[in-house]
Each structure stands twice: as C-alpha cells, then as structure tokens.
C-alpha cells in the first residue's frame, strides 16, 4: 500500500516537472500577403553622372510588381552605399525587411562600374551582391537584372524585369492613313525599339523560345502572310503565304515548329509548320467552324485553340497529331485567345460576358474560372515567363494600351501610356 502511494506520488512529481520543463510552443498560421517593405538607397555616383538612374529603375520595377513597398525617399534616414556605412538598428526602426545599396562609377562616361548589395535588415546579413562593368547603353538593362535578383532573393520567385514585350502600335496620319509598327520594349514598357513598320496591318507577334526571333502576320503584300524575323540582324522570311488566311502563328516550346491558322483548304483550320523543312501538317478538320489562335502546351504535344464549332467561340485542346478536340471552357458564351502558364496549369483567355470582354484565368485541373479584370475591352492575354503576371491589351479613355494583372487578380497596372494605340502584346521568354 505504502509503496503504491509512493509510486503514484513520484509519477505525479515527474509529470509536473516535465510540464514545467516542456518548452512553450506558439503557432503562427496565416500571416499577411501585403507588399514587402524595402529600402532602396539611391546609388552613389562617382565621376560623370550616369545616363540612367539605376536605383530609380529598380524602385519602379519592384513597386510595379505589386509585391514590394519601397520606402519613400524622404523617409530614408541615411544614404549608405556599402555595408560599412549601414547602421542596421536604424533601418529596423523603419521596419524595412530589405535594404538595397550600391554605387556607380565611371571615368570616361562610357564604361561604368556598378555594384549592389541587398541586406536582410533584421539579421544584418547580405542576401545578394554583385559587381559589374557595362557600357552606358547597357545600364538600363543592368538595372532590370538587379531588380530580378532582388525580387528572387526576397520572394523566392523568378524575376521578369529584364524580359521584353513585343506589341503593335498604330498611328493615324493626318491624311487618314495609318502607320503600323511592330515594337519591342523593356518589360516596364520603356525603351521601345521598332522592329518593323508598315502601312498595312501587323498582327499576332509571337516570340521564339530563344527570345531571338519573332513571328508575326503582316498584310504588307495586300493579304495576310506569316513572317519570321531575327531580332539582331533584322533578317526576315515569309513562311506562309497561302491562298486565303495565313494567321495566328505560335512557336512550339522547342522552337522547331509554328502552329498556324490557314484557310488554303477553304476554311480556317489549325496547321503545324516544321520551320526547317517547310513541311505542313493539318491538325483540325472541321469545315463547319473556324479554328484559330492555337498555342502550344508546355509539353509540346497539345495545342489550345479557339473554335466556334459549338456555335459560339470556346477554347478546345487537341493533340498536335490531330484527333478529337476536347472542349475546355463551359462558362459563358464567349471564350477565346488562350495562353498557357509556363507550368501548364493555368490558362488565360478573353472571357465575354454581357457584350464585354475581360481577361480570365482557368485552372486546368479544377476547371475553375476567375475573371481578373474589370475594364471590359480586354484582349490578347500573354503570360509573363514566371507565370505570375498576365499582359493584355485594353482601352482607356478611347486609347488602346497595354496593362498587366497578377494571376490572382490582386495587382493591376498600365504600361507605356505613350499616346499611341498599342495592341497585340506578347511577353518574351526569359533571357538566357
């Protein structure tokens, strides 16, 4: 009896002491998805002033992504340019999680030395840092590359600030004629370069996966014709000039083929062109309907396309080898212009609703459709190569312009409001 009592008492004591020793655990579930506060200190400058303001470009890049909340310049408590100058305690008071510092120096105004360092303010640790030497003309592109590094270090995702956009501008001349230009700009819409000019319409630019070639439709010869153009040399060649429609080119993921819409057999159908051999293979066979706007799935084996075979335009999936097409969209009476995210999971499209057209995404696994925009005159969605943002054409105050929206619909912005009409955007692949 006595022993039993003692045993019980002992185990109670053990239990109590264990409880006393067990470490407290606090669970944090949720958190906020708000933009990350970052302090970007203007880069120090030695020698002649650099032709571009690098830190300003980076600030705009990060702010435009919607994922960063750069500290206003007036709140910067000091302007360090390297680690030795930094008093982290001060920066902690501002609650900035990241701190970007750097400097630019040049002797001759042409060759520039650039360096940057990104710090974790609370741990007083460097997260990224690089030194570069670039000509003055490369400074803008370098700024975008630094933005990519900061973005990736702090979000864990690939940055797309150094990618490019292709689009078509339309200028109305005083005599009523129009001037079309195929242009390529930086991802922020700045620094546009004209690739092709024409008095006749230019449509549907499509990037080769190497980012070195563009394919597009030009009416320069009085009828739609498909060209491939090299970006560096400007060399171009016509690859499809069949009777009738030649339109909607799209590069295969391996860059060896183009999916096209041709009506040479009388009705618009999807074809695949082997670029090297010029060999054509027909994919769709539906003479009652228009099949067009094909895009490649990342696996290179299937195509998404728009067809009115069901009476109204809807999006279908078909094997590159042909066969039966599978309808993917069922919500609403109008869905067209598909594009697919790099992971192949999300499809972007134009979704018609009560006579207005919006950009929407559909999860290909669940089939759930989400409308991302509110403007109502949206077209030509194109995924950013990291799959986070969708570029599209829209209208604002009677002007055609480009806009971007995050895939979750939370971040919206407009690009390059230059005053000219801008249409047919295509986001380039990542730079290799």
């Amino acid at each position: 009896m006595t022993q039993k009592w003692l045993k019980i008492a002992a185990s109670i004591a053990v239990l109590l002491s264990w409880q006393a020793q067990a470490e407290l655990v606090i669970d944090i579930v949720g958190g906020s998805e708000a933009a990350l506060p970052i302090a970007i200190v203007p880069f120090g400058n030695q020698g002649p002033t650099a032709p571009v303001n690098i830190s300003e470009i980076i600030t705009n890049d990060l702010a435009s992504s919607g994922r960063f909340d750069p500290l206003p310049k007036r709140d910067l408590i000091s302007d360090p340019h390297e680690k030795a100058d930094i008093n982290f305690k001060d920066w902690r008071l501002l609650r900035s999680e990241g701190l970007l510092v750097g400097k630019v120096s040049t002797e001759d105004g042409e060759l520039h030395k650039v360096q940057f360092q990104l710090f974790d303010v609370y741990k007083a640790q460097q997260l990224a840092g690089m030194r570069y030497q670039v000509p003055a003309g490369g400074l803008r592109r370098l700024a975008h590359q630094i933005s990519d590094q900061v973005y990736q270090a702090l979000t864990g995702e690939i940055g797309v600030f150094s990618t490019r956009l292709a689009f078509v501008t339309v200028v109305k001349n005083s005599d009523g004629t129009k001037r079309f230009a195929l242009q390529v700009s930086d991802a922020d819409g700045a620094n546009p370069r004209t690739v092709l000019q024409s008095k006749q319409p230019i449509l549907s630019p499509s990037w080769a996966p190497d980012g070195e070639r563009l394919s597009y439709v030009s009416f320069e010869n009085g009828k739609p014709e498909i060209f491939i153009q090299e970006m560096r040399s400007g060399r171009r060649s016509s690859v499809a000039a069949f009777k009738g429609i030649n339109s909607a080119p799209s590069w295969s993921p391996d860059g060896s083929k183009l999916a096209l819409t041709l009506s040479k057999a009388g009705n618009p159908e999807i074809y695949v062109l082997d670029i090297a051999s010029g060999k054509l293979s027909r994919v769709t066979h539906n003479s009652q309907a228009i099949d067009t706007e094909a895009v490649w799935m990342p696996n290179g084996k299937e195509l998404l396309f728009t067809s009115d075979r069901g009476g109204r335009p809807q999006i279908y999936k078909v094997s590159v080898d042909g066969g039966r097409a599978q309808r993917l969209t069922f919500e609403g009476s109008y869905n067209s212009s598909p594009d697919i995210s790099p992971d192949g999971r999300t499809m972007a499209m134009v979704h018609g609703f009560k006579g207005k057209f919006y950009i929407a995404v559909q999860d290909l696994q669940t089939g759930i459709l989400q409308v991302l925009t509110e403007t109502g005159r949206d077209e030509s969605p194109s995924f950013a190569p990291n799959g986070r943002t969708i570029l599209y054409a829209t209208e604002h105050r009677g002007k055609a312009l480009l806009a971007a929206v995050s895939v979750d619909g939370s971040i919206h912005r407009r690009l390059g409001e230059s005053g000219t009409d801008v249409r047919e955007p295509a986001w380039s692949p990542l730079r290799k």
């Binding site: 006595t2 944090i28 958190g31 906020s32 708000a34 609650r95 999680e97 609370y122 741990k123 979000t155």
Partner: protein
Amino acid sequence: MKNRFFENLSAGSFSILLHVALFALVVSGMDFQSKQYIAEQPKVDIVQATVMDEADILEEMTRQQEIEDKKRQQELDRQAEIDNKLQETEQELEQKKQEMLEQQRQAELEQQQRELEAQQKQQEIEALEQQRKLEEQKKLKIEQERKLEEERKIKAEQERIAEEERKQIIAEQRKIEEEKKRLAEADRKAEEARKLEAEKARKAEEKRLAKIAEEKKKAEVKAEQERIAKEKRLAEEKARKAAEQAKRDEAARLLQESLDAEARDREDKRIKGLVNKYSSFVERRVKRYWLKPPSAEKGLECTLQVSLFPGGEVKGVKVIKSSGNAVFDRSAETAVYKASPLPVPTDPKAAAEFKQFTFTFRPE
C-alpha cells in the same frame, strides 16, 4: 360394218381355239388314266373341226366319248378274263408246290422238337443238382455266422465285466485321493488360522506402540505450534503497531503533500493562465508582422527557437526545423525580429516560460 366384221371374225376364231383346247384337255386327261393305250387312240383330225355351233360340238364330243368309252370297256373286260384264267393256273401250281414244301418242313420241325426236348430234360436235371448244392452251402454259411455271433457276444460280455471292474477300481482310487486332499486342506486351514491369529496379535501390538508414539508426537507438535503462535502473535503485534505508526506518519505526510499539491496546482494554474494569455499576445503580434512570401505554398512549416531578454526584446532566433523554402524561413525569422519586443508577463514564474520558446509558422 367393218367392225362388225372383225367381231364376227374374232368370234369365229375364238370357237376354233376353244375346240382345240377342249380336245387337248380330253387327250391329256386320258394320259393320266392309262399310258399303254395311247398308241391305239385314233388320231384327232383338226380338219373335221369346221365351223359348228358350240352346242353341236359338245353333243358330238359326248357322243364320241361314249363310243370310245364303250370300246375301251369291252377291251378291258376281255383282257381281264384272260388274266384271270392265267392267274388261276399259276395259283394252282404254286399251291401244290407249297404243300410239298410244307410237308418237308413239318418233318424237319418235328425232329428238331424231339432233340430240343431231350436237351431240355438234361438241362433241368443239371439245374436241380446245382440248386441243391447252393442250398447246402447257404445252410452251412448261416450256421457259421450264428456261431461267430455267439462268440462275439461272449467276448463283449467279458469286456463289459472287465470295464466295470476297472471303473470300480478308479472310483475307489479317486475316493482315497479325495480323502487325502480333504485331510491336507484341513491341516492347511488350521495352519492359516494359527498364522492369522499370530498376525492379529502382532498388529495389535504394533498399533498399540504406534498410538503411544503418535500421542507423544502430537504433544510435541502442539507444544511447537503453541510456541510459534505465540511468537507470531508477538511479531504481528509489533508489526501492527509499526504499521499504525507508519500509517499515521503517511497520512500526515499525504495531507501535507496534498496541501502542497493544491497550492502548487493553484500556482500552476495561475502561471498557466498567464502564459496562455501572453502566448496569445505574442502570437497576434508576430502574425501581424509576418509578411508571407507569395511562394509560400500550402503545407510548408518551419520551426523557430526564440530566446528573449527579460523585457521581451528578441535576443536570438534560430531555425530548428526548416520548411525547405529559404525565403519562407527567413520571412518567419524576420516576423519575429520585427515584432520585438514581444509582450511578456511580469510575473517571474510566468516570464520564465518566455525566456526560451518555440514558434511554428504555417502559411494556412
């Protein structure tokens, strides 16, 4: 007319054929009666069978037949008469010859009869002699058998007497034997009774001795038991007293312990309440400062060990279990730093809990 002509013609032909057939029938019928007269039959002249009335034919046929029959009968009668005369002569001759033969045969037979009778008589005499001899032999044999039987009977009687005598001897011997056995048995019984008596006496003696020994042993055991019982009683008494004392001590101790435990429990509860309250403050504050990265996918979890200065200021943060996503881990660390100083209780015991503790971070 023509037809009629054919009819008449065929009718005429038919009558001719019928006559031919009838004649043939008559001729053949005669064949059966007597063969030897065929040659003498007048030949039938078919030329005479001119066209006649059928009745005429039959009448003629009958008439002819009658003449024929008469002639034949006359011939037959004549022949028979000759045959009879011839036969009568022959029979007479034969009869005479037979009579001579009979006389001769009769003489022979009588001679034979006489010889046979003589022979028979001789045979009878021999047979009678044979019979007599047989009778004698038979009588002799019977006599012999009777004698043999008598001898056999005498012998049997002798054997019976001998057997009876032998049986009597055996019976007497058996009687003597039985008497012997009876006497031996009586002796044996007497001996047994004697032995039994002796055994009885021995056992009684043994029993008596054993009883004495047992009683002695019983007395000894009883004495020992009493001794043990006494010792046990003493030991029990001692143990009981000790146990009672221990119980009193234990009760006192338990009472004290219970009082202590109650006090401790109250204190623990108080501390626990404080800890829970401040844990919740800390959680809310850290959560508010946590900026979850967009790459934070469902299922990530990182565990941090945090140490605080007494006032709640963060002294150190250490990732003790990474989520596998460096950005996610860092966002959690940063959240803790940004939330510094953390709200901690002033009670020293409750505050002790916050000196070092653990956070787990999950996106959802």
